[in-house]
């Protein structure tokens, strides 16, 4: 997917004016948000598990080379083939090469963010291989030719009514009104596709070094049919997905669904260890696992290593005031919300994506709910510093900050300027206590009034209080 993060402000403005999107987004506040809080409260060990999960990921990242080698050896021993891809182009070529070797004319695919990241969908279509997304949300956005707007709910920006219209258009028949009927229709349409596909492509939530196993987590059961029905199964996943043992995987599984949807456990957690065995009655004949780097080793090498702890639960976006106001598409690429603001600059370049880490109030809710305690605001600040260093923000913003820095490092001058400024604002407000318009801040005052300062500056009040 062509990144459009560079147009972030324009896209955010459009999203704010989109009434249907706003309606769809508001469901997160009443749905996933309180559901997570309830699930966390129902498990007294929840926070202790989060600490453990953080430490486990740090341990794996500190020994990632060894765990990858162990995984490769174990997976190979049970008959899987492991492939390595340095970047997106290499990963696409590996998957396309396998599809061609297996004579694939059609593939089914369950949800994989790494597949989105490397642009696999377009690549398959470019080679004339038809692709059907089997996750219901992914299927919806495939029909609508849209990118996903959320990690776990790719079609979260769709209202039921819009889905009904879309289905009627593509499947024929009347517009349905009940969610059950829509799900049943998608089930019927997709059922046939599973049997037609020669190759099933899935992602992985975790890779187990000990056994060479691939773990997928879904609620629909689509990953199981995607890998279980075609003759060939290809897994596309990132090198950071390793966990040492199944025992370690259980620690993550206990916090994943709770953080994502507030479920105690997702409906389906499947552990795949190798392809079909000799006497098995079903299962794919081959299993290929593509381990994708694509910038992860660069993140691993620098200040951003902690983002590699991410288990893609979506809690950070579900609790982000910015994401909840503008949705995922405004971010302009595969990964959205706070985790996307940290990842996207690495994948598409800071020149393209520097505005994403700017779009945060640093309220800290993302870090507060992150199951693996990624310091998302700090990582976003690292990108801001880097953007500043590379002179990416426009001149107005830069000189504004430079003036502020000049004052802030000279306390006497700062106090004088603060007194002057608040005095002027107080006069401008003409005693009404608020300002309808402020020079240079029309973006703020267009939607709300600016509270006028009263009763002196913070510093003068602080000094008075101390005396």
């Amino acid at each position: 997917m062509q990144p459009t993060s560079v147009r972030f402000d324009h896209q955010a403005r459009r999203a704010l004016a989109d009434a249907e999107l706003q309606r769809a987004l508001s469901a997160i506040r009443t749905g996933w948000q309180p559901a997570r809080a309830r699930a966390a409260a129902a498990l007294p060990e929840f926070d202790a598990l989060r600490d453990l999960a953080r430490d486990l990921k740090d341990h794996v990242l500190a020994h990632l080379d060894l765990y990858l080698e162990a995984f490769e050896a174990a997976a190979t021993a049970v008959g899987a083939r492991v492939h390595w891809a340095r970047d997106a182009a290499e990963a696409r070529e590996i998957v396309l090469g396998l599809c061609e070797a297996y004579g694939a004319r059609s593939v089914t695919k369950s949800k994989s963010m790494v597949a989105e990241e490397i642009g696999l969908a377009e690549a398959l279509e470019g080679r004339g291989i038809s692709r059907v997304e089997t996750d219901l949300g992914e299927y919806i956005i495939q029909l609508a030719h849209e990118p996903p707007s959320h990690l776990i709910g790719p079609a979260v920006h769709f209202t039921k009514e819009r889905i009904a219209k879309l289905f009627a258009e593509h499947h024929g028949g009347p517009e349905l009104t009940q969610a059950e009927a829509l799900v049943a229709e998608a089930r019927r349409v997709l059922r046939q596709k599973y049997f037609e596909a020669e190759v099933g492509i899935t992602g992985a939530n975790f890779l187990v070094a000990e056994t060479g196993s691939v773990i997928t987590v879904t609620n629909e059961g689509n990953a199981e049919l995607t890998q279980g029905l075609p003759r060939h199964h290809i897994v596309v996943t990132g090198i950071e997905k390793l966990v040492p043992t199944m025992e370690d995987a259980f620690t993550f599984l206990r916090i994943l669904a709770r953080s994502a949807t507030g479920q105690e456990f997702s409906a389906y957690t499947t552990v795949i260890t190798g392809p079909k065995r000799a006497e098995d009655l079903d299962g794919p004949e081959t299993l290929d696992i593509v381990l994708v780097d694509n910038g992860r080793s660069a993140l691993h090498a620098g200040r951003f290593r902690e983002i590699l702890r991410c288990i893609r639960c979506g809690a950070c976006m579900n609790h982000c005031p910015v994401y909840l106001a503008i949705g995922g598409h405004a971010y302009g690429w595969t990964y959205v919300g706070p985790m996307g603001a940290v990842l996207t600059p690495q994948f598409v370049g800071l020149e393209q994506a520097w505005k994403l880490p700017e779009a945060s109030t640093f309220c800290g809710r993302c870090e507060e709910v992150c199951p693996v305690r990624i310091p998302l605001p700090r990582l976003m600040r690292f990108w801001r510093e880097e953007a500043w260093r590379r002179r990416l923000p426009p001149a107005v913003q830069r000189s504004g900050l430079r003036i502020w820095a000049f004052l802030a490092t000279r306390p006497r001058l700062y106090r004088l300027a603060a007194r002057l400024g608040s005095g002027i604002l107080a006069i401008l407000s003409r005693g009404r206590g608020r300002l309808r318009w402020l020079p240079g801040a029309s973006g703020w005052t267009a939607a709300r009034d600016f509270p006028a300062p009263e009763g002196g500056t913070f510093f003068s009040r602080y000094q008075r209080g101390r005396r």
């Binding site: 486990l56 089997t134 949300g137 059950e180 199981e224 040492p244 105690e264």
Partner: protein
Amino acid sequence: MSEAARTTILARLAAALGRDPASERRRKEEIAARLAVPTPNLIPARAQVSGEERIELFLRMARAVQTDVERLAHLSDVATATTRFLRFHNLPQRLVAVPDPLLDRAGFDRQPLMRLRRGTANVEDAVGLTIAEAGVAETGTLVLMSSPLRPTLVAFLPETLIVVLPIEDVVGAYEEAWQRIRARGGPSRSVNFITGPSRTGDIGQQITLGAHGPKRLLVLLVERLDRT
């Protein structure tokens, strides 16, 4: 291409970690030792229950995620319970059951109207019957393990799934179930942890059952396998 990629990626990671050749051997031994002796991490207190309390927890958690559970005294009661369930849901008396010989003693010989096929499922099968390796009380989860006698698709293609779970196989935590799998020589091709029927929230964030997998899930908790 892949070999060069492999070397590059591993070298990049090693460089980032600033490996010291002197401690390299010890590090390798440590990781190998950690993998050789898998140890459970924190297991929630909720999962550390036994006896009837554990069964109660399993029932409560399973029912909370729309799993139907029925307790049966004998394995031979499975057929009657199945017939009753299918009749209740107005479904034809026809099902595909896994080839496991355990089901030979499930009482279907006394149900002449039931059309029973043994094997894996195909697209026409509306009802599937399989056997769980374990049940996990912690979240009311079933653990299914693929084998020649227990093909996987039976649990995913049919719209209605019935699972036989011997009561002695109900454990507290996931780790206990995995310990059993290890004791049996490690995981088979596919191990499924199933918690309730298939569901989706993709349409207006409203939970709807039966997205791709089963819409209905019945667990038959069998007290005695009648191994006489």
